[in-house]
Amino acid sequence: MDPRRASRTVSDPKIRQVGFFAPPPDRSLSGPPDPISTATTTAAAAANTSSSPPISDLSPSGNSLSPVMIPPPRHSSDTAHRPAPFPPASPPRRGTLSLTVGSYNNNIISSSPTASFCDESKGISVKVSPTSAASSFPGGGFDATAVKASSVPASGLTTVSVVKTLPPGFTETIVEKVGGSVEMQNDLPANSKPLKERTSKAERRALQEAQRAAKAAAKGSKLPATTSGAVASANAKPTKATKPPSQKNDSATVTSSEKKGGDRPPEKDRKKDAPHPRMQYDDKSRVEKAKRRAVVKQTEARNRVELFRHLPQYEHGTQLPDLESKFFQLDPVHPVVYKVGLQYISGDISGGNARCIAMLQAFQEAIKDYSTPDEKTLTRDLTAKINSYVSFLNECRPLSISMGNAIRFLKNRIAKLPLTLSESEAKAFLQSDIEQFINEKIILADKVIVKHAVTKIRDGDVLLTYGSSSAVEMILLHAHELGKPFRVVIVDSRPKLEGQLLLRRLVGKGLSCVYANINAVSYIMHEVTRVFLGASSVLSNGTVYSRVGTACVAMVAHEFRVPVLVCCEAYKFHERVQLDSICSNELGDPDAISKVPGREDINYLDGCTNSENLQLLNLINDATPSDYVSMIVTDYGMVPPTSVPVIVRESCRDQVWI
């Protein structure tokens, strides 16, 4: 993850000490894991290393799912553990093998760096029978024998290569439904062949035994098959790990989606198929599938702009009454969550912080009312529940990046709950965690931001802001309370005209304001001394992802050499990099831009909206390049946009260590 820092700490410690650098206790340990030592640790040990630095330091890369997409570690192992779906005609032998493949796949996950995965493997091993628990760590047991036979490299080192060469997208590929396991099962016979050349005597023997056992298993005896099959899968591991995951991703997901049967129990189905929030909506088959299980029946808008077909766009205002009528029927979604979802749809809750807080509080309520069903563990079932809530909220309105981060935090907490906790304790634990997140990362962060940003307001300044940002509003009000003389220019744009709300509140508090439309920004800019902007998210290349129009304002300000200050809480930062506003965005109601409510005389487009030639594009967000941003005010202080990755790294580390 950060080899530069690690190597520097190690290579010249003397230099590092200059300037009273007091290294935090764990940082020196954060070098890349020593291959051999990791190799000799068993898979079980790997499960324990969730708390040890080398592995968990890697975990950001393992965790590098997009924030909006709720990283479902849960999914992966669930799906992996479940027998892969097969065409009904598949012979029984393959069936047994697939079981072992499942456990193999599970093992891969447990050796992958993410801590939550590791916990999972534990949970699984407890859940299954003792024999298969042993078999679920085949790498470990096998390694031990290999060491005895003084042939460490073959399996041991390749296990490490799983950890080390794990590309960022790897977890995603596992997440991709059952793809990995299906593909694995198909490739197994072919893969074990080239491996044979390298394997040691002991391993060849084990392989033979495995094959023999597999044959026996085909005849019907099931128990030996699992254990020996596990050994076979341990042998197959290297080939799998070294293979580029991308190609597997393509082929496997297609096959799996084709093979998927509709006869699965509905509860399981829901848990597993929470739609990928960054689903490409121009992929017809996927969209169809997602629709079938969606709670919210959205109708797709027609005549979408070609470039933005991959984003969801719905006819607005159609689904709300329908959903309201279903309020009392819906079992899987907690009523509080349901209410928040409806508020998202109707637009009653908008704004990054407000939405995030509402969601977290709803989850808090849901956790309060939650009770673990029989024969289930809290961590697994609750995560599934949260997943279903999240997918529901995502259907109501696409999640923002900040919400994705909050959800990731919550899931992380659930996954790391100590197994010894009782249910009520765990619930109280989670609730206080959520409370703490809201207080520290949002409310307190805003206070710190205000404190920092106010120092940048001088007497007589003319401050420009765009739209309505809660952080900027607090800054302006606080500066006013301090008695600083300054003026505010509020720039606003159709169709939401959010600036008017802000304007109303500011004028009510006695600030002197100028209100202008975004068309006038180049005119008004030359008298402005500071531009304060809010942000929906800040990406790791410094790109500011915010309400559409922000980029325009920032560009004009940059041209006029006016400093642009972006105020954004650190929980909204994300490690993704985005270069344009196309690949990930949100589309609003196209009617909002084609019509002006209450002005029949200028609604020229009235009859044309159904025309094939007319495509309306109502983008919600845009990306401001970091060149236009002078400073980002965040709860870590005032930083240049180039330091966003540093903060992302630091906060990741916080989450890992705490």
Binding site: V18, F20, P25, K456, H526, E527, S630, M631, V639, S643
Partner: protein
């Protein structure tokens, strides 16, 4: 231009409302004067009596010391420079006695500042190091019995040091770094108080050596960038830059140096003198000849009073324009700065810092109606800097913030 805008009316109203602003607005309808009243006010005061023999309390002590250590104040600068350190006794003594009088009322803080001033007089010692040494003296002198007490005492001392001279960035940064060190080392928590205390003192002692070592590290790092036959433009006098050039000369590199004059302290003259002693070909320029000579220059080397969070630097007046000229001619601008000069500051523009004022002698009487810009330093934004040579390595400007976050988080 600004009166075309719609909000002009608001501006007008603002100007008319407070009665004390009328004077400045009636003077000249200038945007700057209405936008930044304090600036106008202070410069207005300055214009009233530009040759006030008693230094204005706003005059930066930091730049006073610098002038005392490195400036050539009189015209026979050669003689003065050779007489070890070119002291101007009136300059350094007057403000010190005057400034010491005020904090002496608060008992204990007096000793810190006194100590600090003693250290500060050594020309080779950086201000931050002097601050650390003064704080170490506080630890040594303190009668605290617990770590917490000591911490509070230290905090008080460092606060009084910082408030004593708000214009010195390295003083503030040095104090902050030391406080960081005291409050953050977890190793201290498990030891008994006396050993922890002695460790702190030991650490403080080391700091002085480290600062000298830092200069050597920077000099070594920068050698790769100085090639034979190059022409280097330097601005003002910087101990680090001198060390860099000295090392390059010792390494038998062939290069020539253009020194700016460095008005008003004329610190460039001192540097050219030092370089002449090393047999480095030197050419002196007046400050306004930078653009004229820039095509001959291969690289610009400057020191820094402070490195701020954006990666930009705060340095002696004139650095910004040199960086601008160099940038427009695609010449690299290298900054040599020790890491203890990294400060958690983020100026957005030139006026965004506490003003550090300095008396300027124009040689002729200035009419009282004429304002004089007396700021001692300017801010160079990071986009005009190429690389920073620090004891942490050769950094791009954007890494500075990285280091600062690591340090202060």
């Amino acid at each position: 231009m600004w009166w075309r805008s719609a909000s002009f009316i608001l501006d007008q109203r603002h100007v008319e409302d407070p009665p004390n602003d009328v004077a400045s607005s009636s003077k000249e309808p200038d945007t700057l004067s209405t936008l930044s009243p304090p600036q106008t006010y202070s410069s207005f005061m300055a214009a009233a009596d530009p040759f006030n023999p008693i230094p204005n309390p706003k005059i930066s002590a930091y730049y006073q010391t610098r002038a005392a250590h490195t400036a050539v104040v009189t015209s026979d600068w050669l003689a003065q420079a050779q007489a070890a350190v070119g002291h101007h006794p009136d300059d350094s003594q007057a403000p010190q006695t005057q400034l010491l009088a005020s904090p002496s009322a608060s008992g204990k803080s007096f000793c810190v500042i006194n100590e600090f001033n003693n250290w500060r007089k050594q020309p080779d010692l950086a201000e931050a190091v002097a601050a650390i040494r003064a704080l170490a003296a506080v630890i040594r002198a303190s009668e605290a019995t617990t770590m917490m007490e000591l911490e509070i005492e230290l905090k008080k001392a460092s606060d009084s040091l910082k408030s004593w001279d708000t214009t010195s960035i390295s003083l503030t940064a040095g104090c902050d770094l030391f406080m960081r060190y005291v409050t953050r080392t977890s190793a201290l928590e498990y030891e008994d108080f006396n050993s922890a205390r002695s460790r702190l003192i030991e650490r403080a002692e080391k700091f002085g050596e480290i600062s000298c070592k830092a200069r050597r590290i920077i000099a070594m790092l920068s050698q790769d960038f100085i090639f034979d036959g190059c022409t280097i433009l330097v601005h003002g006098f910087s101990r680090v830059v001198l060390e860099v050039l000295k090392t390059a000369a010792q390494n038998k590199k062939l290069f020539r140096v253009f020194c700016t004059e460095g008005r008003p302290d004329r610190t460039g003259l001192r540097l050219s003198n030092e370089l002449a002693k090393l047999d480095v070909p030197v050419k002196l320029l007046i400050d306004s000849a930078v653009a004229y000579t820039m095509d001959e220059v291969d690289m610009v080397f400057v020191g820094a009073d402070g490195v701020v969070e954006s990666g930009g630097i705060i340095n002696m007046m004139g650095t910004y324009q040199i960086a601008l000229v160099a940038h427009s001619m695609n010449k690299p601008v290298y900054v040599a700065a020790e890491s203890y000069k990294f400060a958690r500051l983020y100026p957005l523009d030139q006026k965004d810092m506490a003003p550090a004022l300095r008396p300027i002698d124009f040689g002729v009487p200035i009419p009282s109606k004429v304002e004089v810009e007396r700021s001692a330093r300017d801010y160079t934004p990071p986009q005009y800097l190429t690389l920073l040579f620090t004891d942490l390595g050769v950094l791009t400007p954007s890494v500075v913030s990285d280091e600062l976050i690591q340090l202060y988080l």
